[in-house]
């Protein structure tokens, strides 16, 4: 670890800069308002209190250090390493060739590759469709779970189970469901139309492969959206609804005029989480289609994995990784701007 401290320190600065603007307001919104500092009312002599204060602060840094160092080592250090790699030749499959500086070559290779460009398009379309669908369904589920009724606990547990499962489970589950002979989907579709009883979904038809991936991914991730929104619903005080009802608002009006505006923080958190997940979709695809048919279901993350681990091209992979990080940062930044508290 000691060898890493050099790049690590640099990491704080370089990593911090592009993020800082977006970070501050996000934190402000997610952090509960700071409590007024505890005064030394306990009748303790002021000098002792002061000594404890400085001692506390030193201890504080020691206690926080492990988290910061560990997280810097797992995130900032790889990021810096990627930046370095992206401008150098570094491919293990060429043996021990020197890691020469290559300028922007890795980036031009990436932007000139039709494979990568179509993966970018696919990933963006997938992300947009996913967040629209998942937010709408997640909201419906949250409203459902918010109602008091018999069996609400059971409903919640059932909704939570898909979220808690490994992605591998949801992917294999739906791979089984969509299989022409082992699966349930074709069986039930066959009841409507005989020709639908043996549809091949995965790795045969491009759009049906995407539908299957989309369903498996949403099935696992909508619950998380729903639970974040539910938590938002629960902190809306009831008298706001009372007031709206007194003023003669319909159910729809009170949803759009009261619920949605008051749910803004919850919605923004859910949107950030869900968009980043969708943008970085990888394991569902790896398990369900392995990128096929052809490479028509390869996402950005999938190609990044292939470039890093299968082709061991860490220069090109580094360039791809930088784009991924920039995309993720851009998304967080845009959301934080759009959803800034309106006051």
């Amino acid at each position: 670890m000691t060898a890493n401290t050099g790049p690590l320190r640099e990491g704080t600065g370089a990593d911090g800069r592009p993020a800082r603007a977006g970070r501050r307001s996000l934190v402000k919104r997610l952090t509960p308002p700071r409590k007024p500092p505890r005064s030394s009312k306990q009748g303790r002599p002021a000098a002792v209190g002061h000594a404890r204060e400085t001692g506390d602060r030193r201890l504080g840094y020691m206690l926080v250090a492990p988290v910061v160092i560990l997280l810097l080592a797992i995130t900032a250090y790889p990021l810096i390493y990627n930046v370095w790699n992206a401008f150098h030749f570094d491919n293990l499959s060429y043996g021990n060739l020197p890691h020469n500086f290559v300028g922007w070559k890795n980036f031009t290779t990436m932007f000139d590759s039709p494979q990568w460009v179509s993966a970018l398009e696919r990933t963006l379309v997938f992300t947009v469709v996913t967040i629209v669908f998942d937010m709408a369904v997640g909201m419906a589920l949250a409203l459902m779970m918010h109602r008091r009724f018999r069996g609400r606990g059971f409903l919640r547990a059932s909704i939570l189970v898909p979220w808690a499962m490994p992605t591998v489970v949801s992917a294999v589950l739906w791979k089984t469901m969509f299989d022409p002979s082992a699966g349930f989907v074709d069986y039930i579709l066959g009841a409507f139309h005989p020709a639908w009883s043996s549809l091949a979904w995965l790795n045969i038809s491009v759009w049906r492969s995407w539908v299957a991936i989309f369903i498996a991914d949403s099935w696992k991730n909508i619950p998380f959206v729903a639970i974040l929104l539910l938590a938002g619903l629960q902190v809306i005080p009831n008298d706001v609804y009372e007031a709206a009802r007194m003023d003669g608002a319909s159910a729809w009006q009170s949803f759009t005029r009261v619920t949605l505006p008051m749910l803004k923080p919850a919605i923004s958190v859910a949107l950030i989480f869900r968009t980043l997940q969708a943008l970085l979709v990888f394991d569902v695809i790896y398990i369900m289609t392995d990128g096929g048919p052809g490479n028509s279901t390869e996402s950005l993350s999938f190609q990044n994995y292939n470039t890093f681990i299968i082709n061991t091209d860490f220069g090109l992979g580094g360039a791809m990784a930088i784009i991924l990080v920039l995309l993720a940062l851009a998304v967080s930044f845009v959301y934080v701007r759009v959803f800034r508290p309106s006051t």
């Binding site: 911090g16 934190v27 001692g55 997280l71 808690a164 992605t167 591998v168 299989d179 860490f314």
Partner: protein, 306 residues
Amino acid sequence: MTSAVADDVPVPAVAHRAASRRRRFTTGKIVKETLFYLAVVIVVLIALFPFFWVLRTSLLSNSQISAGVGGANGIIPSHLSGAAYKDVFTNTSFSFLDPLLNSLIVSLATTVVTIIVASMAGYALARLRIRGAGAILGFILLAGFFPVLAMIGPLFLVLRYLGWLNSIWPLIIVYLVYTLPIATWLLKNFFEQIPAELEDASLVDGATRLQTLRKVVIPVALPAVFTAAILSFILAWNDFTFAVSFLTSTSHFTAPLAITTFGQSQYQTFYNLIDAAVVIISIPIALLVLFAQRRIVSGLTAGSFR
């Protein structure tokens, strides 16, 4: 004080119950209620039916599966057998037991490290008024959003250099990127709600901060610690990306990675084998969710806004 763990806010309960008693049962109401319950049933079915289907498939033979659904192999087949479960542990090129143990070891170790590191940091951020606490919290949050796929290349090179590829131990460190952000935030939020007087009594008696943290704060915060532990365990247990990138030999696989190698031959997928493995790996998580549903829900949300 316990509002971080009490998951639903029961303030309007009384008023609500009174209102519902007043409600008259008109035809419109009944139709509405029926539609609501119908929707609930549909949601529960969509959430749980795939599990039933996987359980069903895992209990079939290869010939039953390739015969397709219908006839004697209907939704509930007339003949079931547990052969696939035996095969998963004995008849394949490797036993599922190794990956299960690997996953258990890694997930438990990650959980322990997470709890120790996150409660230290959570306490410092909540109580010790260090400078730059906001920036540190922001960085921790941001690290949780970091694209995992962007890290694997450099981490692969580092592990290769250290000779640690194809070993489960480095996973304990990299899994912290999943667990530390949420655990630190959750514990920090909880520590903030513990009345300061509790600690002051102990501090005045001459205990050090660390003793107070261990003997007074942690015991009071046990519910939150427990929640953080459950979430950490689930997040570590569920990883696929790091495992598939760094592990190469089957005896070192984690359980989610091992699943993908079951039942795959060049021409055919044996769904009974792969689904038996899925059922096995799902059970611990399903039990956790059933027993700790409220904790998990409150933990997920406490990290984000409270």
